[in-house]
Amino acid sequence: MTSDPFAGYPAGTSGGSITRSDTSNLADILERVLDKGVVVAGDIVVSLVDVELLSIRLRLLIASVDKAKEMGINWWETDPWLTKGRDGDGSSAGELSERLERLESTVERMAHALEKGSKR
């Protein structure tokens, strides 16, 4: 069992000088496993999922539409993949709101990358 010098600190992200969160936050996981880590290039890789495209679409999907529009991103409005199957079910609102707080900065970084025409 590995040590954790921060184990005594309270969980959460506010209310104290130092708080501690574990590695279960989806936004933190996505930021790492989709964008970082060792990349294996070449034809040897079996393509089940286009990870680059998934990374971009997923972040825009769960980020604030208004925030993305503010940055000039609105291509999903005419993307058939994203317009079909959309539901207005309020039960997802709380979950999406939480993800929004985590991913706004990531969306902004990706917006700049898209605008400059660069991708990782």
Partner: protein, 283 residues
């Protein structure tokens, strides 16, 4: 760029999903659990001085690929659910490897190789480079650090920065001038707030360097300030386990004397952010 179709079921049987690369015969400490119990479906393939942690293609990944398929379009919630399950499965395995290995190279999500032999060839072809990277990461873990600053406190800190003495403006009573003067004052406050945020980031960097922690990736969100308790700095830090107490001390030193500033620490993470942009040659 459309998603390519996945392998047919018979090919999928031989395919191997790659989670991480570790030194061969790795163990975190005598008596520590080995890699064999990371997951019932995970196996370890060894080639020379390296081992690859692989498994069959996860069902969650297949479902995520299907959900993203243009022809099916199951809907946003199901797609999100499928992708979330797949990425959590990936991370769970890599974290368990981190608990058991002296050093870990986490692989990016979604890496599928056609066979175990292909995985071994990958290790053999890149042995030197991978070995160097593993050695550099030995005994180190990644931590996430977010700093939040109460907006009123940040504004107060900004106000204490040097400001020019008040001068009498002969145009002050002109309506148009009042509007632009207010706008100029707002911009000045934003500039000062930005200075405060970057000053804080510099203080953090210096504090970490003073305890020997130099591998830091940092992003300052200087444009924020609208929300009451905004995240003003996002950082990932690579810390040797022996230095983690000093890491904590460095954070405390930055918080000290800055009213309204708080920190949230996440981790330990596998060192995704510090693999040095290591693309592996597969052929």
């Amino acid at each position: 760029m459309a998603c390519e179709p996945g392998p047919c079921p018979s090919d999928r049987m031989h395919a191997r999903y790659l989670y991480a690369i570790v030194p061969a015969r790795t163990a975190s400490a005598p008596g520590a659990p080995g890699l064999g119990d990371v997951d019932p479906h995970v196996e370890v393939l060894t080639e020379a001085s390296l081992s690859a942690v692989v498994g069959p293609v996860p069902a969650s990944l297949v479902e995520a690929a299907s959900a993203l398929d243009e022809e099916h379009r199951p809907g946003r919630e199901r797609t999100l659910g499928a992708v979330e399950a797949a990425v959590r499965d990936h991370e769970r395995v890599v974290e368990r490897v981190l608990e058991r290995a002296t050093s870990v190279l986490p692989i990016r999500f979604g890496t599928v190789l056609p066979s175990s032999e292909a995985a071994r060839e990958l290790l053999g072809r890149n042995e030197e480079e991978l070995g160097s990277c593993l050695e550099a990461l030995r005994g180190r873990r990644e931590w996430g650090l977010k700093l939040y600053w109460d907006t009123d406190s940040a504004e107060e800190s900004a106000r204490t920065l040097t400001s020019s003495p008040g001068t009498t403006d002969p145009d002050a009573d002109r309506p148009g001038h009042r509007f632009f003067a207010a706008k100029r004052a707002e911009l000045t406050r934003a500039d000062r707030r930005q200075d405060v945020y970057f000053g804080m980031a510099s203080a953090l960097e210096e504090a970490l360097q003073s305890v020997g922690i130099v591998q830091v990736q940092m992003q300052v969100h200087a444009g924020v300030g609208a929300s009451p308790n905004a995240c003003v700095l996002d950082a990932t830090v690579l810390v040797a386990q022996d230095d983690e107490e000093r890491f904590l001390g460095a954070i405390e030193s930055v918080l000290r004397g800055r009213t309204g500033l708080s920190a949230s620490i996440s981790g330990p993470w596998p060192p995704y952010s510090f693999v040095g942009g290591l693309p592996l040659a597969a052929q």
